[in-house]
Amino acid sequence: MLFKIRTLFDSMAVTPLYLYLFLFLGPSNFSNSPFAHGFPSSSSDTTMHTNNWAVLVCTSRFWFNYRHMANTLSLYRTVKRLGIPDERIILMLADDMACNARNKYPAQVFNNENHKLNLYGDNVEVDYRGYEVTVENFLRVLTGRHETAVPRSKRLLSDEGSHILLYMTGHGGDEFLKFQDSEELQSHDLADAVKQMKEKRRFKELLIMVDTCQAATLFSQLQSPGVLAIGSSMKGENSYSHHLDSDVGVSVVDRFTFYTLAFFERLNMYDNASLSSLFNSYNPSTLMSTAYYRTDLYQRRLEEVPVTNFFGSVMETIHTDAAYRAPSRKTSGRADIKTSPDKMVTDDQIKTTTNSNVLDQSSDQKQADQACPFARLMSSFKNKVQTVEEADSLVNYGLVTMIPLLLLSTLL
């Protein structure tokens, strides 16, 4: 929004009417009030981690976006291999690459040009396919507001002990993710959906992984506790594909997902690699972008969290001591066991803290115009506009001041 206003004023001709507009910044507010920031006290520390869920979303269609499908299917395979069952995975694929008419290898999807791994091999259960992948359906999955006829396999049936992995890939930009080439998921909508999930205790912890251009902007508006997010690139950077498969004819995998998979192929279900080792395995030079993650909403330390907390299957199990026999007398042992995966603390690694979403103002260019008073005025005006927080309300003020302008023009 702010970006649009800047270009608007840059290209404007000189008229006194815009000074008029500037003078009319009043206190009225027409936009929707920002969402109330009242969190219920998070008791996520006291609930037990009972299950893992994965929501894997591929949002692009058309043959040349083959790599996004391959990304999602690779992660699906990884997550299944590490133990999450189909009934706890929601897979949303916006198009069908395996049976596409342009696919030289029908019913096969590869993520590497060596074609070693067929991602579409067996046991692939796609929950939302083709045109069912829309922003509305995605938000319905997250918030749980389905029509009554929607089957259980299409619902996210998580509870307050669930850890959810949310992976999104496709084409994205500053604060949005493109769905199906026709609509957008905005970052504030995603933040609002996550906030509602937290209020309804639909997750204990949430890991968001985004592999798009300017991915870090998509989760910039999040404010719910218990959320960890990593994106493949920061604002202003693109995410690139890894390599082109000359046989299939398109790029088959993105860099971020490629290196993620490289990390996971070394693991199996019993491993204890931590999240910090995953996050630190991303090298900006090989990724050609900076993988940015935000941990300010996440209480636990990344070195202590094993990746199987999100990517694998963990069942808290309790042994049954005794049968419950009605008339007889059966005593039992006292062994109540709770099993939990071993937590291995890895070495301390340096976490790259990068700051994004700062609009830099370079005031050097203003020096040249200081002589001209109008240019001075315009530059100070531009400065003011760029520091305005509520760009929406500014536009609304503009709309309101249209009325006196119309008045003026009819009187003249």
């Binding site: 069952p85 507001r145 259980r152 049968a323 419950y324 009605a326 008339p327």
Partner: protein, 579 residues
């Protein structure tokens, strides 16, 4: 003529006398007409009259929600935890001298054991305590006989009709034998043996607080992961018989019979807590995920507790295939796993080296698994057809006893029947309904608490969401559901204060399910839509220019009318001055 032209000449030729001068710019001779003004004003008026209709037609329909009541309800639950009235009764038998303890002593002992801050579901501060001595009817009970028989006799004397208030009793019998404490299936317990009054008092108080009120656990509160009731108040118990390798022999069961005998009473008993339905299926080719190794000592294949999280092979075990379960019900899977012949027998080893007696484990909110080893897998037959076996009724009963234990564990209770307290171990009698009456009371209280809290938070979230999006449509159905939910919640609170545990559990379950229906109504989509900018952008090109012109026209006419009026008045004053 001079007279005619005189006044005219006089007006024009005598500029020093402005009274008779006619200045067309500031004066007029005739009264200004009202036609133009009426015309423009009527158009303006029609616009103004139409404006409310336009406003009404673009108004967003929002069913009124009782925000204040919701806040009041949440605040009420937060400030004062829901407490139930309890009645305790201690009966002392066989103490020769007049007993020196009174009900105050017992009350003191009980309050000593209860925590300072009462948790939700505990007894309210105004519980009643009574101590009585040597009641004739109780004396007649023969404490030498079987525990079950004693229990039945006590129930016939102590237990009142169903409608009466629920009293928890402890009978202390001073006899010449070792001290034993048994908690019965109903709402009473007894301690018999060589026990002094003081010891009896403290033991009775402990039984009251730790067993009857807290359900046999140290802290009375059941955590959320042991409340497997779905958001619509229903649970589906899904029983699955898994044949790991059917080539060694296919095992089948007579589920109908065991359901009628074992499961039906349990479902009936749990009716206030949840609406339960049962499904069953038999699956083939379902190997487990983890590995086991041969152990010579036990001469069987062993898997230990570290393998338990990896036992369930979710890829091959297609358990969640229920079509009856709605979107918000909870499914609990009970799996009976028959291992293949080359892993027979398969036993679970505990960390202390012992082999498990039940061969079963649970996972909270998911269900339970029991490994059942058939008698003898027999030789691998040469024929292509696998041999069909049916699990015998006795074996199936044993398996279902373990399942009952697992169901109790899933609800947060213990599957064994011993209570170890600070003053000794008590034996808990088992009920053929799966849950004893006092356990059902505990479950009802805890679930009422949990459901009401969940209802309050859901309604609170809904009201916050609705208020933060002032332009979102709220349908009538949502308003009705919220109203009903609040009413039923109030009913639950009233029932709780009266001590009617089952009715309050049922009402609280309904309140929670209505609140969840309202919150999860599919029409509430918080995607920003129907914003003010949209409205403005759609309607302003139609109305803004036209209304601008109408307004300006009216204003202009009004101004002109005033001007003309002024002119006319000026002329009139001139004339008056002149004459």
């Amino acid at each position: 003529m001079a007279e005619v032209s005189e006044p005219a000449i006089a007006e024009t030729s005598r500029p020093e006398e402005p009274v008779s001068e006619f200045d067309p710019k500031s004066m007029r001779k005739t009264k200004p007409g009202l036609k133009r003004l009426i015309l423009t004003l009527s158009v303006l008026l029609s616009f103004l009259l139409g404006f409310p209709f336009l406003w009404k037609s673009v108004e967003i329909y929002r069913a009124p929600l009782p925000f204040r009541e919701i806040d009041h309800f949440s605040a009420q639950l937060d400030s004062a935890p829901l407490l139930f009235p309890c009645h305790f009764q201690a009966i002392l038998i066989g103490f020769n001298s007049k007993p020196s303890i009174s009900s105050d002593d017992l009350q003191f002992a009980i309050s000593d054991l209860t925590s300072q801050t009462p948790q939700c579901g505990a007894c309210s501060a105004s519980y009643t305590v009574s101590v009585s001595v040597d009641s004739d009817a109780i004396c007649a009970v023969d404490f030498d006989s079987d525990d079950e028989a004693v229990d039945e006799l006590l129930e016939s004397t102590l237990g009142g009709p169903a409608g009466e208030r629920k009293v928890y009793s402890v009978v202390v019998v001073n006899r010449d034998e070792d001290v034993r404490a048994v908690v019965g299936k109903y709402r009473h317990a007894w301690i018999s043996g060589r026990v002094s009054e003081a010891a009896a008092l403290s033991r009775a108080a402990e039984i009251f607080v730790k067993v009857f009120v807290n359900g046999g656990k140290e802290e009375g509160l059941i955590h959320g992961e042991f409340m497997p009731v779905g958001a619509d108040g229903r649970i589906v118990l899904s029983f699955n018989l898994l044949n790991a390798n059917p080539n060694d022999g296919v095992y089948d069961w007579e589920f109908q019979k065991i359901e009628e005998t074992v499961l039906a009473p349990v479902i009936e008993a749990l009716r206030p807590v949840a609406n339960i339905s049962v499904e069953s299926q038999v699956l083939y080719h379902t190997p487990k995920f983890s590995f086991s190794y041969w152990d010579h000592k036990w001469s069987s294949y062993i898997f230990n507790t570290k393998d338990l999280p990896f036992f369930v092979n979710s890829n091959e075990w297609h358990l969640d295939t229920s079509v009856a379960a709605g979107g918000r019900s909870k499914i609990l899977h009970f799996v009976v796993y028959v291992p293949s012949a080359d892993e027979w027998p398969l036993l679970l080893q505990l960390p202390n080296g012992e082999v498990s007696k039940t061969n079963g484990f649970i996972s909270p909110m998911w269900g339970g698994v029991i490994v059942w080893n058939p008698e003898d897998p027999g030789d691998t037959p040469d024929s292509k057809q696998p041999v069909r076996h049916k699990i015998s009724y006795q074996d199936l009963q044993k398996v279902f006893e373990v399942s009952m234990g697992q169901l109790r564990q899933l609800f947060g209770l213990k599957s064994d029947n011993l209570f170890v307290g600070s003053s000794g171990t008590s034996r808990l009698l088992a009920s053929d309904r799966g849950f004893t009456l006092w356990e059902l009371d505990v479950l009802s209280r805890q679930h009422t608490c949990f459901n009401l809290h969940s209802c309050a938070t859901t309604l609170g979230s809904l009201s916050r969401l609705v208020q933060s999006l002032p332009r979102m449509i709220i349908m009538d159905e949502i308003g009705k559901q919220v109203h009903y939910s609040l009413e039923v919640a109030k009913l639950a609170q009233v029932n709780a204060s009266l001590g009617v545990y089952d009715a309050s559990a049922v009402a609280s379950r309904q309140a929670r399910s209505l609140a969840e229906d309202a919150f999860y109504h599919p029409s509430i989509m918080s995607v920003s839509y129907y914003s003010f900018e949209h409205c403005f952008a759609v309607y302003s090109p139609f109305f803004l220019p036209v209304s601008m012109h109408v307004l300006l026209a009216a204003l202009r006419e009004w101004r002109r009318h005033k001007q003309e009026n002024k002119k006319y008045l000026a002329w009139k004053t001139k004339i008056n001055k002149a004459s």
